[in-house]
């Protein structure tokens, strides 16, 4: 019985790690993608989306917004899915 719960615990830790790595990869792609555009696509970023707002400024603000969204996704998953499972297993172990 205990062995079963230990296995469940490892699976849960694995699920957390996979989500953490996935979200980290997303963050790395977003930020270094932005830096890549700054480095190699300067004219593109200078293009205006609406008067006054260049694509570069819009994307920069979106990098900040994406940080909020990614952390929100993780915290929501961890608080509603991960924590209750951990608590349940803690009771058994």
């Amino acid at each position: 019985m205990a062995a079963e719960h230990e296995a469940e615990l490892r699976a849960l830790a694995g699920a957390r790690r996979r989500l953490a790595l996935l979200l980290t990869a997303a963050m790395v792609l977003i930020y270094f993608g932005f830096l890549g555009l700054i480095a190699w696509q300067k004219p593109l970023l200078g293009r205006l989306v609406v008067p006054g707002l260049s694509l570069g400024i819009l994307l920069g603000a979106l990098v900040i917004v994406s940080c909020w969204i990614l952390t929100w996704i993780y915290v929501r998953w961890a608080n509603t899915r991960y924590d209750p499972e951990i608590e349940r297993l803690r009771g058994h172990l």
Partner: protein
Amino acid sequence: MILTQAPVTSLGAPSLVAKAFFFLFLATTLGITWWAARRTRTTEQFYAAGRSITARQNGIALAGDYMSAASFLGIAGLVSLSGFDGLIYSTGWLVGWPVVLFLIAEPLRNLGKYTFADAVTVRLQEKPVRIAAAVGTLATVTLYLIAQMVGAGGLIRLLFGLSYEAAVAVVGAAMIAYVLFGGMLATTWVQIVKAVLLLSGAAALALLVLLRFELSPARLFAEAAARFGDPVLSPGKLVAKPLDAISLGMALMFGTAGLPHILMRFYTVPDAKAARVSVFYATGIIGAFYLMTFILGFGAMVLVGPDTIRAVDAGGNMAAPLLAELLGGTAFLGFIGAVAFATILAVVAGLTLSGAAALSHDLWVNVVKSGHADAREQLRVARLATLVLGVVAVLLGILFKGQNVAFMVGLAFAIAASGNFPALILSMFWRGATTAGIVTTMLVGTGATLLFIYLSPTVQVDILRHESAWFPLKNPALVSMPLGFLSGLVVSLLRPEPAAARAFAALERRATLGQAAE
């Protein structure tokens, strides 16, 4: 030729209001310290505020620990002089936080006690790892402290007209008082007060700017482009070499996850869930703050003008204070000046506390005394270390007067990204990590960063005025971080440590369930 008008400003000749805000902040924070001192009797209280800080409080304190005067005044200044390029920094200073959340915060909280070395040494041989971690911590903290102290001296001189040495001494004395008497509890509340002041100050200023542009940032940017040309809205000279931008980006992104004074804050909350939620708050606050600095920068460019800003301070650091004076008069300038002062104090207090913890908890208690030191001795050594570190910081601040130390913050991030961060990742997530491997990672990461920065254009060309530099990158993280990881990987693979590998399952269990699981 356009003659620039002499700037009309009361900067450097502080008004009564400025002095009042300044002393009000000092009195409040010293009052907090007095309150905290009576609740700081054990090592757990001194280093970790008795784990009594809530997730929301810690989130605000993390933001207060992290947002430096360099990012407030520096980014606003950079934007006011060069437009878009400042955004590269605004985003860079934030993107490390999600990484802290996903990879570090929870396992660190579950594995450790007071310092990040606690988490790294689990299952490894304590003494060598702690020595190496202390080297990484002290290198990061010292460089960061020098940059803050030199910045503080210059800023307070500009804002309040105090002499450089007196300014550094005032900052040093206040920071020693907070940490020495009030420990982590006082440090936390100083950081919370600072974060609230900084955020409300920046928000009020941004609102005053936007009120002139029908609350539309786009109209503000359009006005800037109309006056100073479209290039202010697109990437400019800052990123001349793509690899420089990517290297700096790596240092900022992964260095945040290896800063000892930030990591230490995760021990002040009761559990891993609180650690997690606190990063969520911190990311929200810091992101909002950097969005506002961008508005402030463009506001200063349009309303104050780059020529006036440059005339006061060539680096642009006074853009935000000048904007405050223009929009809100002397009183608002006084408030913003006090906010800048609070900002510096909160950061240096956090740095001093984490450096003191490395000296006392890691080196003295666990290496010299092999963990056998009673509570009284631990606390005494921690306070002594605080005092020593505080005095050293003041002396270094005075020693480096007039030097160009702006690069030292980037350097501190590069060391954190190349030594501390890889050591944490390898030791917490890789079964095969060994004592020798982790020690190698930290020493190679730290050493390579220092060597490369010395050989880089940052030191060779900008400071020593040589024609060229041997190492091409301004920030070495692009090379030193992979070196840190690889060296630890290779050494671990060459000489496996069976005991460490066997203990990995127990580490994973504890990283998931917390210390209570033992």
